[in-house]
Symmetry: none
Amino acid sequence: MGGGNRFQEPVRISRRRQVRKEKEEDEVNESFKSPNLEAERRRREKLHSRLMALRSHVPIVTNMTKASIVEDAICYIGELQKIVQNLTEKLHEMEEGPLEIDEQQTDHIIKPEVETIVLKEEMKKLGIEENVQLCKIGERKFWLKITTEKKPGIFTKFMDVMSFMGFEIIDITLATSNGAIIICSSVQIIQGLCDGDSVDLQQTKDFLLEVMRSNP
Amino acid sequence: MGGGNRFQEPVRISRRRQVRKEKEEDEVNESFKSPNLEAERRRREKLHSRLMALRSHVPIVTNMTKASIVEDAICYIGELQKIVQNLTEKLHEMEEGPLEIDEQQTDHIIKPEVETIVLKEEMKKLGIEENVQLCKIGERKFWLKITTEKKPGIFTKFMDVMSFMGFEIIDITLATSNGAIIICSSVQIIQGLCDGDSVDLQQTKDFLLEVMRSNP
DNA sequence: AATGACACGTGAGAC
DNA sequence: TGTCTCACGTGTCAT
């Protein structure tokens, strides 16, 4: 609400001098003692200068008041963070698929299947082929790596399959490049189901490959 | 010059109540009249809350003091502006020429440290911690996973270390998120060097962690 | 003991 | 007119 938009710099100086003189007179009259008077004065000036510096770093200034300066700074920081986030997202998207620059900028919302088709072509062009690697690395632990097309819902499908097969995710990394997605994960068979020896590696591999390859 | 790093919230409240009571007594005694006392009180509280809000928006906080909060905010805004500038520059470069691999690589080297500092904070805030996992998955094969800060040249360093240790990369995936980088790779000892049994897993793990953690 | 940071109440200028 | 913001000097904690 109504705060004053005053020209602070000049006003402040004049006002300060004014008050300062009065107080000095008072000091003479009553012989006041102020141990940390000067220190406090410096402290105030420091904070004031910092606030002015902050103000100079913020483009949009609604009010010259202290609280407003800080408030605008908060707002500005939020905007900057959003911008950084958007830019990094865009950059990552562009690194993944060097094509379709126009579409990326406009349709944030509706990501069409066209993308996956294009990327699938890209992927095959680069000689990346789908496959599944599966290694036993412990009594009940396995390490697996799946390379396949990047398509919507592929990760959900992966999690569903893992759950269906009774695998528990220990850790996982996921990387995409040129229309391909690579899932790297350590998993272990949920206790109480069965031991690791009852898993046929080749059969599991084929099953995984088939499921991940299937369309819906 | 190290100012006081006091726990502000609780201290402030208790101190305020203390002083407030004394003053109230004084008011009763001398029947002081303060026209804008309550208003001023609100104003102070407003500024104080704004400063706290500002503090919560800045990841790096050196001191709890008012001036420091503003100072850190200024610093943080500067960093964000730099990041935005760099990102937009990169984006423009990529839009102009999709395949300028040379520039991208040099860019990687010169990338300012500011970004990594911010991301490191982000990473720690999310509870991601550096670690190295190493599994033997074959006679000469190993699977390893490294989680560390994302910083310029980290991947080159990784490749150098692998080469130095006599490891040959079979396959590798790399993922980054929130200031962290995760490298997942299958490696094997180069033939003619020695067999896999001569590798001390714990020792190798520690060495890798130390090297990836070191700065340059 | 001395310094630094803070909240407080107050008078004054601007709207 | 009253209301808002500010700088000021002070007492009081904590280091």
